[in-house]
Every structure is written in structure tokens, then in C-alpha cells.
């Protein structure tokens, strides 16, 4: 294995997903020579989404074809500081991606803007309920950026992604039947909303009858054929249900591969190197300036890639890991409550409720689209009074029928209490598959002093680096929130005329269990903010300590939200890129004085 130094470039980007592709597009537009490094291989619709072979649930959702290979690197997990963490050896609770497109190739497509109050949650909670409302040990923080500042970038991302949805308010005017709690928009969605599947249709009616405000979930699954501002084209979604875990064979689910890379690949300023595993960022002797990165190529040669600007755009925890192994920013110490890298590690708090409808009603759960469905936000963000409830956070509630495939349906079986085998299992499974509606409370997860990321003292990856260690458990505040919101779903299932309802709720004292899929919406660990004592990056996602390193991703979220993170990650990427283009490149240095 040789060590080779490559020619210096303007910008090196770590990670070939949404964040990396957006940054590469923006910075090449600014005339920068950009090299994007992706640890996995090339992926494309023509190869990974080839019809009909790609519609293979066993390969996609059980053998995890387009997900991270844990044999090379993974994380270790423990529930609390007194335990010894063990490696996450089988994908289950969360599913990071690998390969060109990253998690942006296997995601579902739910494409939401962040709720304005969630961006200023600490200030909002204090102004509404007083500082004492924040529980001991909760690190509640503001993002340091407002919805009004981010709006143009939410808009831009939706146009690039070809997002289908129905607006509520555009430029102050109510224009449609969208989310009544959603903030003002500068423009409508680029595409009309996807059609409701039967379950979503019934949920919409019942939620309205129960007094809530249902809306079509904005989805980056194109409701029509579409050409985005980069000239990249999408086909229309046909509700086949092979979104999450698959490369969409209809070209209708937005991905970096379909929506951005076609325009980037033909730009001579852009170079994508796949099978390039970045080991760490190199710093100069002052430790305040990055000189580039070191990566392993597919032959195993160690490549030194010098660059003027380093963008970390890997998956949330990989960004944090790279900062820790590179010595960027002060590592978080939960005991002394100092340091910032690894602080405010957050997740998402989801539980699923099922309602069984009359056997004459066919919900046909195999039909679906990854991002589509109907939601109500009456118990999300600060849309309701938290005062009497005594918890912080909230959940949208939705029917997001993403297409339940055969193996998953068989595994899910029938209602609770149904045998796991035999004819009773079979009839329960068929009944559920045909006639049930599944509703999620897809909730926020607050940040706590003793929930964090650091380097594992024992376990190392295939490259000799310490694994990243997760210390994570559910807290009473979040469980109370979940139970409160789920209890409200009962009104909806009643209005739907359900013959049976199972309210899926989090239980107190039930620890975080990595064996069951929850969401891949991990966040925090290198959060943005205005205070270098509590954030690792400033409001432009620039490292406080090393000003030529920007860290783009959900790692920037100070706490977990009820929404899916991709829309916010894309907007933050465009926001950060805008400030790099207009300010940083003219005068490299800290965009905010520390």
C-alpha cells in the first residue's frame, strides 16, 4: 500500500449523498474545483433500480443491498454511562447508507420544512412557559437560524427534489388545503400532491371529523413527470411501494443520483471518486486550519488529498466521528458538561398505531409511496399548549403507507395476541394486510446531558480507528409526549369506524433497543448555534475552531424534531453554500467571530 499525494483542489467533500451533492453543485457553480469522496461504490437507477429485478424485498429490506456494510465500520451502543458498549453488528434500529447517493438513494421521500418554533425551541419554551419548564439535564437549544432566513433554501430544495405537496399559505395568502400550521411560503410546491391511498383518504376524513387539520405530506416522490432547475428529469410515482431501501425504477423518488449528479457529472470542475474511505481530516500545526483529508482508495492505497476547503457531508454520526478522530473541536465530556463534539446526540421517537377497518374496506397495504400520505400537526412543535402537559416536544400523526411488502406483512402478522404461526396467524396477517391502517406518531426527541457520542475505548474499525460510541436511552419527557399524542389518535380511529384499534405507545422504563427498526433519523452530535460553548459549528455550519471545515447534515440539529430530517438538511446545505459563495470565498475565515 502506497501513500500518494494528489494535486491540491479548492474543495474536498466527504460523502456523496444529498448534502455532499448539493454542496458540490453550489461550489462548482461558484467556479470551485470540487472533489467528492464517497466510501461506497457507484449506484444508479439502471443498475440498482433495474426493473423488475430491483423489486426484491429480500435483497432490499432484509439483506440490505444498498445500506452500510457493518463489517468494515459501525458504531457501538449502550443505554447509559455505566454500561459497556457493544458494536451494532446487524442493521435494524437505524439504516445508514453507503455508495453514491448515500442515504439519499434509499430514503422514502418525506420532504418537510422545519417548523419555525422548532428552530428557536429554547427561546420559545422559555418565553411561553418559563425557564423552569425545561427539565433538569435537558440541553434545550436554538439553531441560531430562523425560518425566515432558511425559507429561500427550503424553496430551492423543493424545486430541485421535485416535491409534491399542497401549500396552505403562499406569500401571506391562503391558497389551498395544506397544513394549516405550516409557515408562510414564498412559492407553491413544484408538483401537486400525490393521490391518497384508501387508508390515507379515510384518515383524512376521520381526522377532520375529530377536529384536527389533515394535510398531504410533502413528498419528494414525483406526482407527475418533472424537470428540475438543473435539467434533471423524474418520472411519475406509480405507488409500487419500493421506495425505502431501493433505487426507484421509475426515476420518481428524488435522489442525488437522479436529481443533482446528472448535471454535476458533466461539469469539468467536478470529480467524484467512489470507493474512497476518508480516514481523517488533516490539520496544520496550529490545529486551526485543515490542509485536506486522507483517504483509502479501492486498492487500499492511502491518498493524501490537499484542499483549501473541507466539507464534511457524511451521514450524521460519521461527521461526528470524523471530527473526533481528526481532533476538530473539543470532545464532549458529560461529567464536566464541557466540550461540544458528541454533545446533544438525538434520535426520533416513533410509535405505530394500527386500526382494523370493516372487511368490506380494502386498504391494500402493498400499495404505497414512500413520502406520500396524510398527516395532522395539531400535536406537533408548539402548535398546542404544552403548559398543562408538562413536556417539551411533539409529533405529527400520519398515515404514510409506503407499501408494506410481503415479507414485512408476514412478519407483522395479525393484531396483538394473534399466534405467530398456523392458520390463526395466516388469517390475522391477511386481515391486517388487506383491511388495516397504520398510523405513526413520528415524534421529537430532546437532547440530554447524559445522551451523547464519543470514541469507544475498546472497539476499533477495519482501519484501526476507534469506533464511535452511542450512549442513548429514552427519557420520561419524550415518553410522556408520545403517550399524550398517541392517546389523541383514538379519536381518529373512532371516527374511522375501526372495529379494533391497537394504540402503539412508548412504555416508561422500556430501554432503547437496537434490534427493532425505528427510524434512521439520527441527529445532533455536532450541532449548530450561536454559542461556541454549546455548539460545534456556527449558524453557517462552519466549525468554530477550524474555519475551513464546514459540517453539513442532521448532526447540526440541537434536538430531534417530529419531522423527517432530509428537507432541513438540504435547506441547511443550500444556506451554508450561499454564505460560502457570497462571503467565505471572498474572504476565507470565520463567518462568525468566536
Amino acid at each position: 500500500m502506497a501513500t500518494i499525494t494528489r494535486k491540491s483542489v479548492d474543495v474536498v467533500i466527504v460523502g456523496g449523498g444529498w448534502a455532499g451533492s448539493i454542496m458540490a453543485k453550489e461550489l462548482t457553480e461558484a467556479g470551485q474545483h470540487v472533489v467528492m469522496l464517497e466510501r461506497g461504490g457507484e449506484r444508479s437507477t439502471a443498475s440498482d433500480g433495474a426493473y423488475p429485478g430491483s423489486l426484491d424485498e429480500l435483497e432490499g429490506n432484509f439483506r440490505f443491498k444498498i445500506f452500510q456494510k457493518l463489517s468494515k465500520t459501525t458504531v457501538t451502543v449502550r443505554n447509559n454511562i455505566n454500561q459497556t458498549a457493544l458494536p451494532y453488528r446487524q442493521l435494524a434500529a437505524f439504516l445508514p447508507g453507503e455508495g453514491v447517493g448515500g442515504a439519499g438513494l434509499h430514503w422514502s421521500g418525506v420532504h418537510l420544512r422545519m417548523a419555525p418554533d422548532d428552530l428557536t425551541l429554547r427561546s420559545t419554551v422559555i418565553s411561553k412557559y418559563g425557564k423552569s419548564f425545561i427539565p433538569e439535564g435537558m440541553n434545550l437549544q436554538d439553531y441560531g437560524v430562523t425560518y425566515a432566513e432558511l425559507e429561500p433554501y427550503f424553496d430551492k430544495a423543493e424545486k430541485v427534489f421535485g416535491t409534491s405537496g399542497e401549500a396552505y399559505k403562499v406569500q401571506g395568502k391562503i391558497v389551498g388545503n395544506g397544513n394549516a400550521f405550516a409557515p408562510d411560503r414564498s412559492d407553491d410546491f413544484p408538483l401537486p400532491p400525490l393521490k391518497d391511498v384508501t387508508g390515507a383518504h379515510l384518515f383524512r376524513k376521520a381526522a377532520a371529523e375529530a377536529g384536527y387539520h389533515p394535510y398531504s405530506i410533502p413528498a419528494a416522490n414525483a406526482s407527475r413527470q418533472y424537470t428540475n432547475p438543473y435539467g434533471a428529469q423524474m418520472g411519475p410515482c406509480n405507488f409500487c411501494g419500493y421506495c425505502s431501501g431501493y433505487a426507484c425504477y421509475m426515476y420518481s423518488k428524488a435522489s442525488p443520483n437522479v436529481n443533482i449528479l446528472p448535471a454535476l457529472r458533466k461539469n469539468p470542475l467536478f470529480e467524484l471518486r467512489s470507493n474512497a474511505t476518508v480516514l481523517h481530516v488533516t490539520l496544520d500545526s496550529t490545529k486551526s486550519r485543515a490542509t485536506g483529508v486522507i483517504y483509502l482508495d479501492e486498492k487500499g492505497d492511502e491518498i493524501i488529498q490537499p484542499a483549501e476547503l473541507v466539507i464534511l457531508a457524511a451521514f450524521q454520526f460519521n461527521n461526528v466521528h470524523l471530527m473526533l478522530v481528526s481532533g476538530i473541536g473539543k470532545p464532549y465530556d458529560p461529567v464536566s458538561n464541557t466540550g461540544v463534539v458528541g454533545r446533544n446526540f438525538v434520535y426520533q421517537n416513533i410509535s405505530t398505531t394500527t386500526a382494523w377497518l370493516d372487511p368490506s374496506v380494502y386498504t391494500s397495504q402493498f400499495i404505497g409511496t414512500g413520502g406520500g400520505g396524510v398527516a395532522f400537526d395539531d400535536f406537533n412543535s408548539e402548535n398546542f399548549d404544552h403548559g398543562p402537559q408538562g413536556f417539551i416536544g411533539g409529533s405529527p400523526v400520519w398515515v404514510n403507507q409506503a407499501g408494506v411488502k410481503a415479507i414485512a406483512a408476514a412478519k407483522a402478522g395479525g393484531p396483538p395476541g394473534t399466534p405467530r404461526w398456523g392458520s390463526a396467524w395466516k388469517s390475522g396477517m391477511i386481515d391486517t394486510y388487506k383491511h388495516a391502517v397504520r398510523m405513526d406518531a413520528h415524534g421529537s426527541n430532546m437532547a440530554y446531558r447524559d445522551v451523547f457520542l464519543d470514541l469507544d475505548p475498546t472497539w476499533k474499525d477495519a482501519f484501526g480507528r476507534p469506533l464511535l460510541r452511542m450512549t442513548f436511552d429514552w427519557k420520561d419527557n419524550d415518553i410522556r409526549m408520545n403517550r399524550y399524542v398517541v392517546s389523541k389518535i383514538a379519536n381518529v380511529t373512532k371516527a374511522m369506524g375501526a372495529r379494533r384499534t391497537h394504540l402503539g405507545m412508548k412504555e416508561f422504563g422500556q430501554p432503547f433497543d437496537t434490534r427493532f427498526y425505528q427510524t434512521t433519523h439520527l441527529g445532533g452530535g455536532a450541532v449548530m448555534g450561536n454559542d461556541p460553548q454549546t455548539s460545534a459549528i456556527n449558524r453557517y455550519l462552519q466549525c468554530w475552531d477550524v474555519s475551513n471545515v464546514f459540517v453539513i447534515g442532521s448532526n447540526a440539529f440541537p434536538q430531534g424534531t417530529g419531522y423527517n430530517p432530509t428537507g432541513m438538511v438540504a435547506a441547511l446545505a443550500y444556506w451554508s453554500a450561499h454564505h460560502i459563495r457570497t462571503t467565505y470565498l471572498k474572504n476565507p475565515g470565520p463567518l462568525v467571530p468566536a
Binding site: A50, Q225, G231, Y251, K266
Partner: protein, 458 residues
């Protein structure tokens, strides 16, 4: 067939690099690229701009289609032409003095292009469309010469040796063929100069009949293999649809309502030649390369000239009943009635992208209802697409490529014949069915001629 040309993989590194380099040049070229007046005493600066014009002309003439192979030096030849009596390979036309055309004088260069005669006096196979190139002006030949001698990188690559067996490897009988079928350049130029008062039509006729050599594929050929007509004036057979090229059956570019461009507007044609996709259909087969390394680089005024000229050609087949959409098949499918032969196969395999109403989702997925390719009396193209799949390649202005999978491995000849017949019969297409024998014939030719096309990356 003499013009039985192998498809050129469109996404190859050499080609892409070339495209990227060209872009900046093209932007620098103002509208009138082909200013016909040319002053003989050229300075270096003049030469650079003449070379750019030459490069543009090389695009318009699609030299790369036959002289560049993926993974090899640009214009270094080696493109195979499988003929019934062996395979011939195109030559290295880079300015390498020993292996290319580096020793050619401008006169020899012009003679090769316009008359099909090599510097050593031997005749070129008419896979080279010199009967069309014969129309090219001296100024354009000069520009091409300057481009090929000053801007193309010499390559010493030697194309494979032709495998034609004696006596067919003897070239001199071609001279007799040339004497009969290749017009003299002066005559040819004159025959294409037919629109003294209409600059757009004049330009269109020049590009289509001359450098663009559209007729090489789209005009039928006689038993003696010459195009039955080399100009629109000569006969209405010009561009009335060609014989099969590598299994593809080129459609008519004339005004037929069903099988030609009768329902296409001038703008449709311009957009097709630039993007490779319009509401009426998308490129496939040999035309992918023609748009990919050729027409997409032409400027707006030239594309409009081509389109206007093509729109001026009346239908050769004057008896076609105009195509009108017939909703009955779509209605039946929506009602769950798949009793028509092939209907069930269509719903299962095709309808996701092409819809049960055959309208598809242009310009992402091309329509089958009313598509001239579908209604072509020769079903070869349609069958071949179903068997082998097809790719709409990325173009400069349309960076997304779209891939249709091939169904040759998962469907029998009978099934493919059924579904193709269903497509040809439905939505007002009302075209004759195909038989499993047709499918078997194309399947057989595919196994020997399937090109290796790099997988698009979107």
C-alpha cells in the same frame, strides 16, 4: 447492408471529454458558423477560428459515429461494419502521418470526403457517405481539413484488419459502383443549391442532403446498395424511410401522418435533435449517436433550418389515414378487461411507464400511442427495443438518461409478439400484428450484435 453500422456507445470517456471541451468552443461561435466566403491567406488566429468551424462541421457530419470507438483515441477508427461477406473497420483519420491522414494534402482530403477516393487512389467503401458529402462546399472542406490537421490529436492506433475474403476484398470494382452512383461534386453541390431566395431552406437542404447525410439511413437503398435518391428534388423516395441498420428500421422523415413527421412541428424536430426527446418520442438505436455526438451541438438556427427543410417534404405514402387517438383499449384496461391478446402482458410489463392509455409520460418515458416507430410497417425497431431494452442517453441540455430494461430474457418469442402486436393495434395505432418468427429473427441477430453500452449513472 453496406451501411450496417455498429452503434457507438454514447457515454465513453473519450467522447465525454470531447464534449466538455467542445462546449466552450461552441459558445464562442456566433450564429453564422458557415460563412461561405473564405480568404486563402490564413493567419494562426484565423486558423484557430477555422478549426472551430471545422469542429462544428465534424459534429454536423457526425464523423465520430464511424471513426471513434469508446476507450480509444478520438477519430482513431476501428468501428466495425459487419457485412454479409466479412467485417470492415473504419480508418484512423487523425493527423498521424503514418497511421492516420497526416500526409493528406487538402485536395486529397477533400477528394476522400467528397468522392470516396483515398490518397493512394483506391476507392473507399460507401459505408462512408461520400455521395452526400459530395455536396459540401470548398470552404467547409477547408475548415474540416484545418480542424483535422491542427486541432485533432494524432494517434498511432491501427484499426483491425478487414476480414473480407478474396475476391470481395478487392477494391477496384468499387470504382465501377462509384462511377454509376456517386455524383460529381460540382454537380452535387449545384443540385442541392435550390433555394436562392430562402436562406433558411437553402441551409436546411445543405445540412440534410450534405454533411448531415440523413439519407444514409433514412432513404431506401436499391439492390445495388445505392440510396434511391440523394436529394429531395430527385425523388420523393428521399428520406421516405430506410432499410434496416443493425436491426433498426429508420422511419420516414417526410410528411406521412402515421409513419413520418406529419404530426411533428418544426419546434418538435429542433427539440428532438437537441434533447433526444420530445412529446412524440425519444431517440433510440443509431439515432442516439447521431443526436449524441452530432445534432445536439448544432446551433439553433441550423436546427431550425434542418427542421424547416424536413417539414417541406410531402408524404411519400399519400394514402395514410391520419392517426386519431382511440380510447377504447384504455377504457377496457381501466375496467380490468385484459382479454385482448397481449393486454395482460402489457399491463404487467409496460404500463407502469407507458400507461394503459399508451400516452406514457413524455419526455421522461416516450408514448406508444401515435408513435411513428410503433406504426412503421417494419416492426423491427419496436421488437428490438422490447427484446434488448433501450437507453435515452444524456444530452447536454437534458442531462438525465433513461433506461428501459430488455425483456428478452424473461419473455418468450410468443409473448413478445403478443405484446408488440397489442401495442401496434391499440390506441388508434391500427397497425399489422407481428409473429413469433419476427421476434425469433431479431433475437438471433441480437445475440451477435448486442452492443456494450455503458450504464447511465443517474
Amino acid at each position: 447492408m453496406m451501411t450496417n453500422r455498429k452503434k457507438i456507445p454514447v457515454r465513453n470517456p473519450v467522447f465525454q471529454t470531447l464534449m466538455l471541451r467542445k462546449k466552450t468552443y461552441l459558445l464562442a461561435i456566433p450564429g453564422a458558423v458557415f460563412a461561405l466566403s473564405f480568404a486563402g491567406s490564413a493567419t494562426a488566429g484565423d486558423n484557430a477560428s477555422i478549426a472551430k468551424r471545422g469542429e462544428y462541421l465534424a459534429r454536423a457530419s457526425d464523423c465520430a459515429a464511424c471513426h471513434t470507438v469508446s476507450g480509444h483515441a478520438q477519430f482513431s477508427g476501428g468501428v466495425p461494419f459487419a457485412l454479409p461477406f466479412g467485417t470492415i473497420f473504419s480508418s484512423n483519420i487523425t493527423p498521424d502521418r503514418d497511421h492516420g491522414t497526416g500526409r493528406y494534402t487538402e485536395a486529397q482530403f477533400g477528394r476522400a470526403i467528397r468522392e470516396g477516393v483515398r490518397a493512394d487512389g483506391s476507392p473507399l467503401y460507401p459505408a462512408m457517405p461520400y455521395p452526400s458529402y459530395a455536396r459540401m462546399t470548398d470552404a467547409d472542406i477547408h475548415a474540416l481539413y484545418i480542424y483535422f490537421t491542427t486541432a485533432v490529436t494524432p494517434s498511432s492506433e491501427i484499426p483491425p484488419v478487414n476480414t473480407t475474403a478474396w475476391p470481395l476484398s478487392i477494391r477496384w470494382p468499387l470504382r465501377i459502383w462509384q462511377a454509376f452512383f456517386v455524383p460529381k461534386s460540382d454537380q452535387a453541390k449545384k443540385s442541392t443549391e435550390r433555394f436562392p431566395d430562402d436562406a433558411v431552406m437553402a441551409r436546411g437542404a445543405y445540412l440534410v442532403e450534405g454533411p448531415g447525410h440523413c439519407g444514409a439511413c433514412h432513404t431506401p437503398r436499391a439492390a445495388t446498395l445505392q440510396e434511391k435518391s440523394l436529394t429531395a428534388q430527385e425523388s420523393p423516395l428521399f428520406l421516405s424511410g430506410g432499410s434496416a441498420v443493425d436491426g433498426w428500421t429508420p422511419t420516414s422523415l417526410r410528411g406521412e401522418n402515421r409513419t413520418g413527421l406529419g404530426r411533428w412541428s418544426e419546434t418538435d424536430i429542433v427539440s428532438f435533435l437537441r434533447n433526444g426527446r420530445v412529446a412524440h418520442g425519444s431517440v433510440f438505436g443509431g439515432m442516439s449517436g447521431a443526436v449524441g455526438h452530432g445534432t445536439q451541438y448544432l446551433d439553433d438556427s441550423d436546427l431550425h433550418a434542418i427542421a424547416r427543410f424536413l417539414k417541406s417534404l410531402p408524404a411519400y405514402d399519400k394514402d395514410q389515414i391520419p392517426w386519431h387517438y382511440d380510447a377504447s383499449e384504455a377504457q377496457a384496461l381501466r375496467n380490468g378487461d385484459t382479454s385482448a391478446p397481449g393486454a395482460r402482458l402489457y399491463v404487467d410489463r409496460c404500463a407502469a411507464c407507458h400507461r394503459t392509455d399508451g400516452a406514457a409520460y413524455p419526455t421522461t418515458f416516450p408514448p406508444l400511442a401515435g408513435n411513428p416507430v410503433v406504426m412503421n410497417p417494419a416492426p423491427d425497431s419496436l421488437i428490438q427495443i422490447v427484446l434488448a431494452g433501450s437507453t435515452i442517453p444524456a444530452m447536454r441540455a437534458s442531462p438525465s438518461a433513461f433506461v428501459m430494461p430488455g425483456f428478452g430474457k424473461t419473455m418468450t418469442d410468443e409473448q413478445i409478439a403478443e405484446v408488440v402486436s397489442f401495442i401496434r393495434a391499440s390506441w388508434g395505432n391500427n397497425t399489422a400484428p407481428v409473429s413469433p418468427t419476427d421476434v425469433a429473427r431479431l433475437r438471433k441477430s441480437l445475440s451477435t450484435a448486442t452492443p456494450v453500452t455503458p450504464t447511465p449513472l443517474n
